[in-house]
């Protein structure tokens, strides 16, 4: 559809969503204002109570809390982590759309500039920035049509809080099955205090007719610090799920500890794409977001497939390793990643591929781009278990450095316990050469566009894995995130 129609459609969706959120009556302003800081059993009970959760969810939370209490936050030598006082945080998420500003004039100009560059319509800018939006809208919406379409196929796509209420058996069966609370410190924390997130269920033989989730930019915006997502695809099913948003996620909540669990049964396929632009803090790196995410998928069934594609920029500190357990025979896992750091950002990201079944195959393509004074690390694990006959892995970890004050590091770990495995690893490091820049400039292309062109060429292999609309946004995002990196 044309650009005008697309914008109109987005405006419609926007209106529908904001209208709907005003219906969220169960959270009053008073309650959220006075929610006490800190984390203890009482607070967890309160969270569960406010959300009207069944007993088994409260138990899940409390068990996780007990586990968390016994753990220590992890330290990574390559990241400079500030001390996080967990008793200073508030564990109840404020409603999404509490306006922070009265008008666009009050929003920091850099944020508005980014929205302009990303081509975001004005109405959407207001919501993204947290400006109060006038009510009174028409009801016709594409979103409703979209929900009808999914229902026809028997696809469940709703907030996890709704799923707990409406499909408890499904949630009970799978929640924590891929990322148990004891898995790591932040998973334990998330399991105790998770706020909301997406629940997706694809029945047998169903291929989702559309991409799910956050191409609604508003829905993606700051859904919470402790987001929990659960995606289940039955035999021969398929879903492509998009998470994230190119508009900078402005959030006072500095700590984000999400958990994502994917389950793919026989012949099922899950494609999970993330395009995330976290507010990086100012040029000195103050006020940025700490992004600690545990994402894991299990290729439970034979011939199942899970692909992770991510483009990440801007986080002050990113610590995430989307991983896949290849349990089913002939299962396939892929990981495509572009991680950009600029200014003072730090990223430590990578993947784990755990081969258990027979004839499994994994592919890792990681492209790091560092500029400014940033540090970008890839940390990967390829783990071939004893029973993994004929396992295959191919890893390509490339780093590109822009300027000479940034760093890139690669830490590949390969553990092979089966002699029939074939594991290939390639790593390259490159700089954008003066000669390449000059060549492009001599054809009329300005310096910043030239850097952008070269970087996009470098990242192309990953970008082409993204659904079309995301790919376009990701390209713009790469350009913006590298602004000022030259010269």
């Amino acid at each position: 559809m044309g650009e005008k129609e697309r914008i109109e459609e987005q405006d419609q969706i926007l209106k529908e969503v904001t209208e709907k959120d005003y219906e969220y009556g169960f959270e009053t302003e008073i309650e959220t204002e006075y929610f006490p800081k800190g984390l203890n059993e009482d607070i967890i009970r309160k969270i569960s109570e406010i959300r009207n959760e069944p007993e088994w969810v409260l138990e899940f939370r409390l068990k996780a809390y007990e586990i968390w209490k016994k753990m220590e936050p992890p330290t990574w030598p390559h990241l400079k982590l500030p001390e996080i006082d967990f008793q200073e945080l508030i564990y109840y998420a404020r409603p999404k759309n509490l306006p922070k500003y009265n008008s666009l004039d009050e929003v920091p100009p850099e944020i508005l500039e980014t929205y302009e560059k990303l081509g975001i319509p004005l109405e959407e800018q207001k919501v993204l920035a947290g400006v109060a939006v006038d009510a009174v809208f028409d009801s016709v919406s594409v979103k409703t049509t979209f929900e009808k379409e999914l229902k026809k196929h028997g696809i469940i796509f709703c907030p996890i809080s709704e799923a707990i209420r409406d499909y408890p058996d499904l949630v009970k069966k799978y929640l924590g099955s891929v990322v148990p609370p004891g898995d790591n410190y932040y998973a334990a924390l998330n399991s105790a205090v998770f706020t909301d997130g997406s629940f997706v269920y694809i029945p047998k033989g169903v291929r989702s007719p559309m991409e799910l989730s956050s191409y609604f930019r508003i829905n993606a915006r700051g859904t919470g610090q402790f987001e929990r997502t659960l995606i289940i695809v039955e035999e021969k099913g398929y879903v492509s799920y998009l998470e994230g948003c190119t508009a900078p996620q402005r959030d006072e909540n500095q700590l984000h500890a999400a958990v994502v669990e994917l389950i793919a049964h026989d012949d099922a396929e899950i494609k999970y794409s993330t395009v995330q632009n976290w507010f990086p803090g100012d040029k000195e790196g103050k006020g940025g977001i700490f992004n600690f995410v545990t994402k894991r998928g299990i290729c439970k069934g034979d011939r199942s497939k899970i692909s992770w594609t991510q483009v990440e920029t801007g986080s002050a500190i990113t610590w995430k390793y989307p991983s896949t357990i290849l349990k089913g025979d002939d299962s396939v896992a892929e990981f495509y990643s572009v991680a950009v750091t600029n200014n003072h950002q730090q990223a430590d990201t990578g993947t784990k591929m755990i081969h258990i079944g027979k004839n499994t195959k994994s592919t890792i393509i990681s492209k790091g781009i560092s500029a400014g004074k940033s540090n970008n690390s890839y940390r990967g694990l390829v783990d071939i278990k004893p029973g993994a006959e004929n396992a295959r892995n191919f890893s390509q970890c490339d780093s590109m450095l822009i300027g000479d004050q940034c760093g890139a590091h690669t830490f590949p770990y390969i553990e092979v316990q089966n002699p029939t495995a074939v594991v290939e690893h390639e790593a390259t490091t490159s700089k954008i050469s003066e000669d390449q820049l000059f060549y492009l400039q001599q054809r009329g292309i300005d310096e910043e566009s030239a850097v952008s062109m070269i970087v996009n060429g470098y990242a192309k292999e990953v970008l082409k894995q993204l659904p079309m609309e995301f790919a376009v946004e990701a390209q713009k995002l790469l350009a913006i995130s590298l602004e000022g990196s030259v010269g």
Binding site: Q436, R443, I445, I454
Partner: protein, 258 residues
């Protein structure tokens, strides 16, 4: 040749340093639209330096002199501005740019040009049609035109790609820096044909060449010989032939005589 047109390029007493060393020592040259100039000279005479200085590459310090391009101060412009103003450099060693396709590259360059000239850029369909026309015109193998910039191109293919880009961008002044070096006779002819096809009465080309071979196929209006950072002799095609016969040593004698 009518000289009542404004010169495309005027180089006046150009002195250029690279690091501590002075490479160009007072070079003068004027080029009018419709002309083809050849610049020959031994290694170290400053031919490539001249090309890079005109294109605006970093690392070259102009200590004296002036360069006007279409009447405007060229040295004051950024490299991409010079290109947009109509200056093209055919590189001696064209660089590879992995991941960047020739098509996207040329599309972006033409869009930049359109914006600079205040015109609307070509729609994708128009552009592809134009691109294919030029492929045929220059005779560049289609498989090359569909690849990434110079990626896995042979030396000869890279040079032909320079001419191909020239055909797409249609510069007013093209400086071809030893575009003929390393080419076999067929590639050389192809390059020469390309240059001749693109030449018209409104543009001009400066062919920097080490051997006079290219000049058998592209007749220059003027031949200049550079030696030790300056143009020491100018003439027509016959000068090139004389140089070929007598060698650069002859120049040394000429210089001391002058």
């Amino acid at each position: 040749m009518t000289k009542n047109k404004q010169p495309l390029l005027e180089i006046k007493d150009l002195h250029v340093k690279v690091g501590d060393k002075e490479i160009l020592k007072g070079l003068n040259l004027t080029v009018y639209p419709g002309e083809i100039h050849a610049i020959m000279g031994p290694n170290g005479s400053g031919k490539s330096t001249l090309a890079y200085v005109l294109a605006g590459r970093d690392g070259y310090e102009v200590t004296q002199g002036q360069v006007l391009f279409k009447g405007k101060d060229l040295l004051d412009m950024d490299p991409n501005e010079r290109a947009l103003a109509g200056l093209f450099l055919g590189f001696q060693y064209p660089v590879e740019i992995p991941g960047v396709s020739m098509i996207n590259f040329m599309k972006a360059a033409l869009e930049a040009k359109a914006e600079y000239e205040g015109k609307k850029p070509m729609k994708p369909g128009e552009f592809l049609k134009y691109y294919r026309e030029k492929i045929k015109e220059i005779g560049l193998p289609e498989k090359l035109a569909n690849r990434n910039v110079n990626e896995n191109f042979s030396g000869g293919e890279k040079k032909r790609n320079e001419i191909f880009q020239m055909a797409l961008l249609q510069p007013d002044l093209a400086i071809l820096d030893e575009t003929d070096s390393g080419l076999d006779i067929d590639a050389l002819k192809a390059v020469a044909e390309g240059v001749k096809k693109l030449h018209n009465e409104n543009n001009a080309q400066i062919l920097i060449t080490h051997y006079q071979r290219l000049l058998d196929f592209v007749q220059p209006d003027y031949v200049h010989v550079m030696y030790d950072g300056r143009i020491v002799k100018s003439g027509d095609k016959n000068l090139a032939l004389e140089l070929e016969k007598k060698g650069y040593q002859w120049l040394e004698e000429q210089k001391t005589e002058a």
